[in-house]
Point group: C2
Chain length 239, copies 2
Amino acid sequence: MRVEIWSDIACPWCYVGKARFEKALDAFPHRDEVEVVHRSFELDPGRAKGDVQPVLAMLTKKYGMSEAQAQAGEENLGAQAAAEGLAYRTRDRDHGNTFDMHRLLHFAKEQGRQDELIGALYRANFAEERTVFGDEERLVELAVAAGLDADAARAVLADPRAYADDVRADEREAAELGANGVPFFVLDRKYGVSGAQPAEVFTQALTQAWGERPPLRLIQQGSADAEVCGPDGCAVPQQ
Amino acid sequence: MRVEIWSDIACPWCYVGKARFEKALDAFPHRDEVEVVHRSFELDPGRAKGDVQPVLAMLTKKYGMSEAQAQAGEENLGAQAAAEGLAYRTRDRDHGNTFDMHRLLHFAKEQGRQDELIGALYRANFAEERTVFGDEERLVELAVAAGLDADAARAVLADPRAYADDVRADEREAAELGANGVPFFVLDRKYGVSGAQPAEVFTQALTQAWGERPPLRLIQQGSADAEVCGPDGCAVPQQ
């Protein structure tokens, strides 16, 4: 079974939702037969690459919240994160464009290190003091921590076209699947879970999707063993 | 959409079937949205690692064919390969255990180089003079040609446990899906195509599986945008 998770590094509910999903997955009896793939979604794709600002300033400016409202929202998200055992800095976190991180995550996927990198990016963005925005060497360090090669990561970051199409393709697919926000979980392209739902909802979704996997229907011309090799040798075509 | 292909490097119909499938895939309008994954299947898992013999000797000994019958079968397979534009040595090819190649293919999958490696292994086994059996440095060279690191490939080959569980898991899944021989193609875990069917059959299967992708069903607790971040900000939980 395959679970695809659309998310953004700048999305607190994605950080929390990933932990809730993983709690359900860890306890799922068929855990070893579940493959997890991370897909790209940008919350703020229109923001210029160098335009970094504190989260609180962004919230008050973009959404017209008062500073007290914005701070209360951060405290609230921090409490939700803490309930999942996650560290969360409720003050002085930055907000910015995440396109380069998504490009790097696609490179990491190719190298089998996507889960490690997304974990490192979340922790860095939500729990650590040094910003992940506007600092490419910071991203290179996180890539290395995730098991990637520093020079290769640097090359990806230096070339804005690298993996850009993969990010855009993920975003198009999210729209096609009806995702307006993240995190958005898709199980075998059949069931969707929107938002950082409780672990029990993920358990239910995993169980339901697992139980309803359809029997395979064969499409073929002629007999099933026409041009096949098996333990008893290879079929030889009639001339 | 995802296509999984169970196959063995020692399987001539897999070599031919891959080319027929790719002909259909290249012409498929949604080609860029199809992901191909190669899965392991051993035709001769009981054969000892060092037990290498000419294909003709294997065919006459294992299946009781006459040498003329065995040679005619090879000529026939060679003609089928040629019809797909593939080189095929009908004489003096070797047969042996492919477990290490499958382990290496799982390593290549992690590195995003699986398709390159399986192509290199097929060409080497069916079209080139130097054997791929009983010669680890030959496999390392093919891994390097596929874009993998030589030392990393050598380390995988040197450790018989590396990726062994992945190979066994693929083989268990093949049995669960009802595959008794290879190549065996599975589209979105819904449709199966057994054998090196004509390209038109793959076109039909791709078209059918694409058209029948089910609409996503949402599983959730509470409202859909409960704990989600979108372009308009993050939902804040009620306390």
